[in-house]
Amino acid sequence: MTAKENFFKGFIKENPLFVQVLGTCPALAITKSLENAIGMGMALLFVLVFSNLLVSLVTVNPKIRELVMPVRIPVFIVLIASLVVIVEMVMKAFVPVLFETLGVFIPLIVVNCIIFGRAEAFASDHKPLESVIDGAGMALGFTLAIAIMSLVREILGAGTITVWGEAALDLHFLYDFLGIQPIDMFLKPVGAFFTFGFILAVIAAIENAKKAKLAAAAVKGGTK
Protein backbone atom coordinates (compact mmCIF):
# COMPACT_ATOMS: atom_id res chain seq x y z
CA MET A 1 0.00 0.00 0.00
CA THR A 2 1.40 3.40 -0.94
CA ALA A 3 1.45 6.28 1.55
CA LYS A 4 -1.25 8.05 -0.46
CA GLU A 5 -3.61 5.06 -0.39
CA ASN A 6 -2.87 4.63 3.30
CA PHE A 7 -3.86 8.24 3.96
CA PHE A 8 -7.00 8.34 1.84
CA LYS A 9 -8.47 4.97 2.81
CA GLY A 10 -9.91 6.56 5.96
CA PHE A 11 -11.95 9.04 3.94
CA ILE A 12 -14.27 6.82 1.94
CA LYS A 13 -13.28 3.17 1.63
CA GLU A 14 -12.77 2.54 5.36
CA ASN A 15 -14.49 5.61 6.80
CA PRO A 16 -14.54 5.01 10.57
CA LEU A 17 -18.05 6.37 11.10
CA PHE A 18 -20.01 5.51 7.95
CA VAL A 19 -18.37 2.23 6.96
CA GLN A 20 -16.97 0.78 10.18
CA VAL A 21 -19.70 2.38 12.38
CA LEU A 22 -17.20 3.25 15.15
CA GLY A 23 -17.26 6.32 17.38
CA THR A 24 -21.02 6.72 17.09
CA CYS A 25 -21.47 8.30 20.54
CA PRO A 26 -19.72 11.63 19.82
CA ALA A 27 -21.01 11.58 16.23
CA LEU A 28 -24.62 11.60 17.45
CA ALA A 29 -24.13 13.86 20.44
CA ILE A 30 -22.05 16.81 19.26
CA THR A 31 -23.13 17.29 15.64
CA LYS A 32 -25.47 20.18 16.43
CA SER A 33 -23.21 22.67 14.65
CA LEU A 34 -20.30 22.50 12.23
CA GLU A 35 -18.08 24.25 14.78
CA ASN A 36 -18.55 21.41 17.27
CA ALA A 37 -17.76 18.85 14.61
CA ILE A 38 -14.55 20.64 13.60
CA GLY A 39 -13.46 21.01 17.24
CA MET A 40 -14.15 17.37 18.00
CA GLY A 41 -12.40 16.30 14.81
CA MET A 42 -9.27 18.28 15.67
CA ALA A 43 -9.16 16.87 19.22
CA LEU A 44 -9.49 13.38 17.81
CA LEU A 45 -6.85 14.11 15.15
CA PHE A 46 -4.30 15.04 17.81
CA VAL A 47 -5.03 12.04 20.01
CA LEU A 48 -5.17 9.52 17.16
CA VAL A 49 -1.97 10.68 15.42
CA PHE A 50 0.04 10.63 18.64
CA SER A 51 -1.51 7.45 20.03
CA ASN A 52 -0.73 5.65 16.77
CA LEU A 53 2.82 7.04 16.86
CA LEU A 54 3.43 6.02 20.49
CA VAL A 55 1.81 2.60 20.12
CA SER A 56 3.87 1.92 17.03
CA LEU A 57 7.06 3.12 18.78
CA VAL A 58 6.58 0.78 21.74
CA THR A 59 5.80 -2.20 19.53
CA VAL A 60 8.26 -1.71 16.65
CA ASN A 61 11.30 -3.05 18.49
CA PRO A 62 10.99 -6.86 18.87
CA LYS A 63 12.53 -6.88 22.34
CA ILE A 64 10.26 -4.20 23.79
CA ARG A 65 7.35 -5.71 21.88
CA GLU A 66 7.77 -8.98 23.77
CA LEU A 67 7.44 -7.08 27.04
CA VAL A 68 4.52 -4.93 25.97
CA MET A 69 2.26 -7.31 24.06
CA PRO A 70 1.00 -9.39 27.03
CA VAL A 71 -0.01 -6.24 28.93
CA ARG A 72 -0.80 -4.10 25.89
CA ILE A 73 -4.34 -3.13 26.88
CA PRO A 74 -3.41 -1.26 30.10
CA VAL A 75 -0.33 0.20 28.37
CA PHE A 76 -2.37 1.53 25.45
CA ILE A 77 -5.05 2.87 27.78
CA VAL A 78 -2.50 4.86 29.80
CA LEU A 79 -0.90 6.25 26.62
CA ILE A 80 -4.27 7.29 25.18
CA ALA A 81 -5.53 8.72 28.47
CA SER A 82 -2.39 10.87 28.87
CA LEU A 83 -2.91 12.31 25.40
CA VAL A 84 -6.55 13.05 26.20
CA VAL A 85 -5.53 14.90 29.37
CA ILE A 86 -3.22 17.07 27.25
CA VAL A 87 -6.08 17.84 24.85
CA GLU A 88 -8.39 18.65 27.77
CA MET A 89 -5.89 21.12 29.25
CA VAL A 90 -5.11 22.82 25.93
CA MET A 91 -8.78 23.18 25.01
CA LYS A 92 -9.71 24.47 28.47
CA ALA A 93 -7.03 27.14 28.13
CA PHE A 94 -7.54 28.28 24.54
CA VAL A 95 -11.12 27.43 23.49
CA PRO A 96 -13.06 27.38 26.81
CA VAL A 97 -16.47 27.89 25.19
CA LEU A 98 -16.05 25.00 22.79
CA PHE A 99 -14.65 22.86 25.62
CA GLU A 100 -17.79 23.60 27.63
CA THR A 101 -20.11 22.69 24.71
CA LEU A 102 -18.36 19.41 23.93
CA GLY A 103 -18.40 18.68 27.66
CA VAL A 104 -17.99 15.09 28.70
CA PHE A 105 -17.22 13.96 25.15
CA ILE A 106 -13.65 15.28 25.29
CA PRO A 107 -12.57 13.04 28.22
CA LEU A 108 -14.62 10.27 26.60
CA ILE A 109 -12.17 10.21 23.66
CA VAL A 110 -10.31 7.73 25.90
CA VAL A 111 -12.94 5.09 25.28
CA ASN A 112 -13.53 6.00 21.62
CA CYS A 113 -13.43 2.73 19.71
CA ILE A 114 -11.65 4.34 16.73
CA ILE A 115 -8.51 5.07 18.77
CA PHE A 116 -8.22 1.68 20.38
CA GLY A 117 -9.26 0.00 17.14
CA ARG A 118 -6.47 1.67 15.17
CA ALA A 119 -3.91 0.90 17.89
CA GLU A 120 -4.90 -2.77 17.86
CA ALA A 121 -5.54 -3.25 14.15
CA PHE A 122 -2.89 -1.03 12.57
CA ALA A 123 -0.32 0.74 14.74
CA SER A 124 0.75 -2.32 16.76
CA ASP A 125 2.19 -4.04 13.67
CA HIS A 126 3.20 -1.17 11.36
CA LYS A 127 6.12 1.27 11.23
CA PRO A 128 5.79 4.65 13.05
CA LEU A 129 5.50 6.77 9.89
CA GLU A 130 2.83 4.51 8.34
CA SER A 131 0.91 4.58 11.62
CA VAL A 132 0.97 8.38 11.77
CA ILE A 133 -0.35 8.60 8.20
CA ASP A 134 -3.05 6.05 8.99
CA GLY A 135 -4.05 7.96 12.14
CA ALA A 136 -4.24 11.29 10.32
CA GLY A 137 -6.30 9.77 7.50
CA MET A 138 -8.72 8.04 9.85
CA ALA A 139 -9.19 11.13 12.05
CA LEU A 140 -9.77 13.39 9.03
CA GLY A 141 -12.18 10.82 7.60
CA PHE A 142 -14.09 10.89 10.87
CA THR A 143 -14.04 14.71 10.85
CA LEU A 144 -15.43 14.68 7.31
CA ALA A 145 -18.20 12.29 8.37
CA ILE A 146 -19.28 14.28 11.42
CA ALA A 147 -19.00 17.51 9.41
CA ILE A 148 -21.47 16.10 6.87
CA MET A 149 -23.83 15.05 9.69
CA SER A 150 -23.63 18.42 11.41
CA LEU A 151 -24.14 20.29 8.13
CA VAL A 152 -27.38 18.37 7.53
CA ARG A 153 -28.54 18.90 11.11
CA GLU A 154 -27.55 22.55 11.39
CA ILE A 155 -28.94 23.66 8.03
CA LEU A 156 -32.24 21.85 8.52
CA GLY A 157 -32.49 22.47 12.26
CA ALA A 158 -31.20 26.00 12.86
CA GLY A 159 -30.85 27.46 9.38
CA THR A 160 -27.22 28.48 9.94
CA ILE A 161 -23.73 27.21 9.21
CA THR A 162 -21.31 28.00 12.06
CA VAL A 163 -17.79 27.43 10.81
CA TRP A 164 -15.88 28.81 13.78
CA GLY A 165 -17.08 31.28 16.40
CA GLU A 166 -18.24 34.46 14.61
CA ALA A 167 -17.61 33.06 11.15
CA ALA A 168 -21.15 31.87 10.53
CA LEU A 169 -23.46 31.84 7.57
CA ASP A 170 -27.11 32.71 8.08
CA LEU A 171 -29.45 30.90 5.72
CA HIS A 172 -32.67 32.33 7.11
CA PHE A 173 -33.20 34.43 3.95
CA LEU A 174 -33.53 31.15 2.07
CA TYR A 175 -36.13 29.90 4.53
CA ASP A 176 -37.97 33.25 4.29
CA PHE A 177 -37.84 33.06 0.51
CA LEU A 178 -39.41 29.60 0.58
CA GLY A 179 -41.82 30.67 3.32
CA ILE A 180 -40.92 27.84 5.73
CA GLN A 181 -39.28 27.47 9.14
CA PRO A 182 -36.18 25.46 10.15
CA ILE A 183 -37.18 22.11 11.68
CA ASP A 184 -36.24 22.28 15.34
CA MET A 185 -36.40 18.48 15.61
CA PHE A 186 -33.07 18.09 13.83
CA LEU A 187 -31.21 19.69 16.72
CA LYS A 188 -32.80 17.25 19.20
CA PRO A 189 -31.62 13.67 19.83
CA VAL A 190 -34.36 12.45 17.48
CA GLY A 191 -32.75 14.35 14.61
CA ALA A 192 -29.36 12.84 15.39
CA PHE A 193 -30.65 9.28 15.07
CA PHE A 194 -32.72 10.11 11.96
CA THR A 195 -29.85 11.87 10.19
CA PHE A 196 -27.40 9.09 10.93
CA GLY A 197 -29.86 6.39 9.86
CA PHE A 198 -30.69 8.12 6.58
CA ILE A 199 -27.05 8.87 5.71
CA LEU A 200 -26.19 5.20 6.30
CA ALA A 201 -29.15 4.17 4.16
CA VAL A 202 -28.03 6.45 1.31
CA ILE A 203 -24.53 4.97 1.48
CA ALA A 204 -25.95 1.44 1.49
CA ALA A 205 -28.14 2.31 -1.52
CA ILE A 206 -25.10 3.60 -3.45
CA GLU A 207 -23.14 0.46 -2.53
CA ASN A 208 -26.02 -1.77 -3.66
CA ALA A 209 -26.34 0.09 -6.95
CA LYS A 210 -22.59 -0.29 -7.53
CA LYS A 211 -22.75 -4.02 -6.78
CA ALA A 212 -25.71 -4.49 -9.10
CA LYS A 213 -23.84 -2.66 -11.87
CA LEU A 214 -20.75 -4.83 -11.35
CA ALA A 215 -22.87 -8.00 -11.35
CA ALA A 216 -24.62 -6.87 -14.55
CA ALA A 217 -21.26 -6.10 -16.16
CA ALA A 218 -19.96 -9.54 -15.13
CA VAL A 219 -22.99 -11.27 -16.66
CA LYS A 220 -22.58 -9.26 -19.88
CA GLY A 221 -18.88 -10.09 -19.98
CA GLY A 222 -19.64 -13.78 -19.43
CA THR A 223 -22.07 -14.04 -22.35
CA LYS A 224 -19.70 -12.39 -24.83
Partner: protein, 190 residues
Protein backbone atom coordinates in the same frame (compact mmCIF):
# COMPACT_ATOMS: atom_id res chain seq x y z
CA UNK B 1 -38.63 14.28 46.84
CA UNK B 2 -35.61 15.81 45.15
CA UNK B 3 -34.05 12.38 44.93
CA UNK B 4 -37.16 11.02 43.21
CA UNK B 5 -37.00 13.88 40.72
CA UNK B 6 -33.32 13.16 40.13
CA UNK B 7 -34.01 9.46 39.57
CA UNK B 8 -36.91 10.23 37.22
CA UNK B 9 -34.80 12.67 35.23
CA UNK B 10 -31.92 10.22 34.93
CA UNK B 11 -34.22 7.32 33.99
CA UNK B 12 -36.53 8.99 31.45
CA UNK B 13 -35.70 12.56 30.49
CA UNK B 14 -31.93 12.32 30.34
CA UNK B 15 -31.91 8.68 29.36
CA UNK B 16 -28.33 7.61 28.94
CA UNK B 17 -28.87 6.02 25.52
CA UNK B 18 -31.53 8.18 23.90
CA UNK B 19 -30.61 11.66 25.13
CA UNK B 20 -27.02 11.59 26.31
CA UNK B 21 -25.82 9.20 23.57
CA UNK B 22 -23.53 7.25 25.87
CA UNK B 23 -23.02 3.57 25.15
CA UNK B 24 -24.41 3.69 21.62
CA UNK B 25 -21.89 1.11 20.36
CA UNK B 26 -23.33 -1.53 22.66
CA UNK B 27 -26.84 -0.30 21.83
CA UNK B 28 -26.34 -1.08 18.13
CA UNK B 29 -24.33 -4.26 18.65
CA UNK B 30 -25.93 -6.01 21.62
CA UNK B 31 -29.46 -4.63 21.27
CA UNK B 32 -30.31 -7.19 18.61
CA UNK B 33 -31.52 -9.97 20.93
CA UNK B 34 -33.58 -9.86 24.11
CA UNK B 35 -31.41 -12.32 26.05
CA UNK B 36 -28.14 -10.54 25.31
CA UNK B 37 -29.62 -7.09 25.94
CA UNK B 38 -30.79 -8.29 29.37
CA UNK B 39 -27.35 -9.72 30.21
CA UNK B 40 -25.54 -6.60 29.04
CA UNK B 41 -28.00 -4.32 30.85
CA UNK B 42 -27.59 -6.12 34.18
CA UNK B 43 -23.80 -6.13 33.87
CA UNK B 44 -23.85 -2.41 33.05
CA UNK B 45 -26.00 -1.59 36.12
CA UNK B 46 -23.56 -3.39 38.44
CA UNK B 47 -20.46 -1.84 36.87
CA UNK B 48 -21.89 1.70 36.65
CA UNK B 49 -22.89 1.74 40.32
CA UNK B 50 -19.66 0.16 41.59
CA UNK B 51 -17.48 2.36 39.36
CA UNK B 52 -19.38 5.47 40.43
CA UNK B 53 -18.89 4.67 44.13
CA UNK B 54 -15.17 3.97 43.72
CA UNK B 55 -14.37 6.92 41.46
CA UNK B 56 -16.45 9.35 43.56
CA UNK B 57 -14.61 8.25 46.72
CA UNK B 58 -11.18 8.45 45.11
CA UNK B 59 -11.90 11.88 43.62
CA UNK B 60 -13.26 13.43 46.80
CA UNK B 61 -10.94 11.88 49.37
CA UNK B 62 -7.69 11.41 47.44
CA UNK B 63 -7.51 13.61 44.37
CA UNK B 64 -8.95 16.84 45.80
CA UNK B 65 -6.69 16.85 48.91
CA UNK B 66 -3.67 16.15 46.68
CA UNK B 67 -4.86 18.74 44.10
CA UNK B 68 -4.49 16.38 41.17
CA UNK B 69 -8.01 16.82 39.77
CA UNK B 70 -6.66 17.14 36.25
CA UNK B 71 -5.56 13.49 36.40
CA UNK B 72 -9.16 12.27 36.70
CA UNK B 73 -9.51 10.90 33.18
CA UNK B 74 -6.47 8.63 33.53
CA UNK B 75 -7.32 7.58 37.08
CA UNK B 76 -10.98 6.87 36.31
CA UNK B 77 -10.34 4.75 33.24
CA UNK B 78 -7.72 2.69 35.09
CA UNK B 79 -10.06 2.24 38.07
CA UNK B 80 -12.86 1.09 35.77
CA UNK B 81 -10.59 -1.31 33.86
CA UNK B 82 -9.26 -2.79 37.11
CA UNK B 83 -12.75 -3.03 38.59
CA UNK B 84 -14.13 -4.88 35.58
CA UNK B 85 -11.18 -7.25 35.60
CA UNK B 86 -11.65 -7.95 39.33
CA UNK B 87 -15.37 -8.51 38.92
CA UNK B 88 -14.77 -10.95 36.12
CA UNK B 89 -12.33 -12.98 38.24
CA UNK B 90 -14.59 -12.96 41.30
CA UNK B 91 -17.74 -13.94 39.43
CA UNK B 92 -15.87 -16.69 37.60
CA UNK B 93 -14.68 -18.08 40.95
CA UNK B 94 -17.88 -17.84 42.98
CA UNK B 95 -20.73 -18.20 40.53
CA UNK B 96 -19.99 -20.00 37.26
CA UNK B 97 -23.65 -19.81 36.22
CA UNK B 98 -23.71 -16.01 36.60
CA UNK B 99 -20.38 -15.89 34.76
CA UNK B 100 -21.96 -17.79 31.88
CA UNK B 101 -24.76 -15.23 31.70
CA UNK B 102 -22.75 -12.02 32.17
CA UNK B 103 -19.16 -13.10 31.50
CA UNK B 104 -18.90 -12.27 27.83
CA UNK B 105 -20.32 -8.78 28.35
CA UNK B 106 -17.93 -7.76 31.11
CA UNK B 107 -14.81 -7.10 28.96
CA UNK B 108 -16.96 -4.99 26.63
CA UNK B 109 -17.99 -2.74 29.48
CA UNK B 110 -14.54 -1.22 30.04
CA UNK B 111 -14.89 0.66 26.79
CA UNK B 112 -18.60 1.40 27.27
CA UNK B 113 -18.72 5.19 27.41
CA UNK B 114 -21.72 5.08 29.75
CA UNK B 115 -19.56 3.95 32.68
CA UNK B 116 -16.86 6.60 32.33
CA UNK B 117 -19.48 9.16 31.32
CA UNK B 118 -21.54 8.65 34.49
CA UNK B 119 -18.41 8.73 36.68
CA UNK B 120 -17.43 12.07 35.11
CA UNK B 121 -20.96 13.51 35.30
CA UNK B 122 -21.11 12.72 39.03
CA UNK B 123 -18.01 14.85 39.49
CA UNK B 124 -19.06 17.66 37.12
CA UNK B 125 -22.44 18.04 38.86
CA UNK B 126 -20.72 17.77 42.31
CA UNK B 127 -23.31 15.30 43.59
CA UNK B 128 -23.33 14.23 47.24
CA UNK B 129 -22.80 10.54 48.01
CA UNK B 130 -26.53 9.71 48.15
CA UNK B 131 -27.33 11.72 45.01
CA UNK B 132 -24.47 9.99 43.23
CA UNK B 133 -25.86 6.56 44.19
CA UNK B 134 -29.41 7.42 43.08
CA UNK B 135 -28.24 9.01 39.83
CA UNK B 136 -25.93 6.13 38.85
CA UNK B 137 -28.51 3.45 39.67
CA UNK B 138 -31.24 5.31 37.75
CA UNK B 139 -28.95 5.71 34.74
CA UNK B 140 -28.13 1.98 34.88
CA UNK B 141 -31.79 0.95 35.03
CA UNK B 142 -32.65 3.43 32.28
CA UNK B 143 -30.00 1.76 30.11
CA UNK B 144 -31.46 -1.70 30.77
CA UNK B 145 -35.04 -0.51 30.17
CA UNK B 146 -34.40 1.15 26.81
CA UNK B 147 -32.06 -1.63 25.69
CA UNK B 148 -34.74 -4.26 26.38
CA UNK B 149 -37.55 -2.39 24.62
CA UNK B 150 -35.22 -1.79 21.70
CA UNK B 151 -34.28 -5.47 21.50
CA UNK B 152 -37.97 -6.49 21.45
CA UNK B 153 -38.66 -4.10 18.55
CA UNK B 154 -35.62 -5.24 16.62
CA UNK B 155 -36.53 -8.92 17.05
CA UNK B 156 -39.96 -8.18 15.55
CA UNK B 157 -38.36 -6.16 12.75
CA UNK B 158 -36.61 -9.29 11.52
CA UNK B 159 -39.95 -10.56 10.18
CA UNK B 160 -40.87 -7.37 8.36
CA UNK B 161 -40.02 -6.45 4.80
CA UNK B 162 -37.45 -3.63 5.00
CA UNK B 163 -36.10 -1.77 1.95
CA UNK B 164 -32.71 -3.18 1.06
CA UNK B 165 -30.82 0.05 1.76
CA UNK B 166 -32.27 0.29 5.26
CA UNK B 167 -31.40 -3.22 6.39
CA UNK B 168 -29.13 -3.47 9.42
CA UNK B 169 -27.92 -0.34 11.18
CA UNK B 170 -29.99 2.31 9.29
CA UNK B 171 -33.38 0.89 10.32
CA UNK B 172 -32.04 0.41 13.85
CA UNK B 173 -31.24 4.14 13.93
CA UNK B 174 -34.73 5.06 12.71
CA UNK B 175 -36.25 2.88 15.46
CA UNK B 176 -34.00 4.61 18.00
CA UNK B 177 -35.15 7.99 16.66
CA UNK B 178 -38.80 7.09 17.26
CA UNK B 179 -37.98 5.82 20.77
CA UNK B 180 -36.09 9.07 21.44
CA UNK B 181 -39.13 11.04 20.31
CA UNK B 182 -41.30 9.16 22.83
CA UNK B 183 -38.81 9.63 25.66
CA UNK B 184 -38.42 13.34 24.91
CA UNK B 185 -42.11 13.80 25.82
CA UNK B 186 -41.45 12.70 29.42
CA UNK B 187 -39.76 16.07 29.85
CA UNK B 188 -43.20 17.70 30.12
CA UNK B 189 -44.03 15.81 33.31
CA UNK B 190 -41.58 17.53 35.66
Amino acid sequence: MELIALAFTAFFIENVLLTQFLGICSFIGVGKKRSSSLGMGLAVIVVIVLAAIVTWTIYNFVMIPLQIEYMRTIVFILVIAALVQMMETLIKKFSPSLYKALGIYLPLITTNCAVLGVALTNIDQSYSFVEMLVYSAAIGFGYLFVMYIYAIIREKLEYNPIPKAFQGVPIAMVVAAILAMIFARFGGII
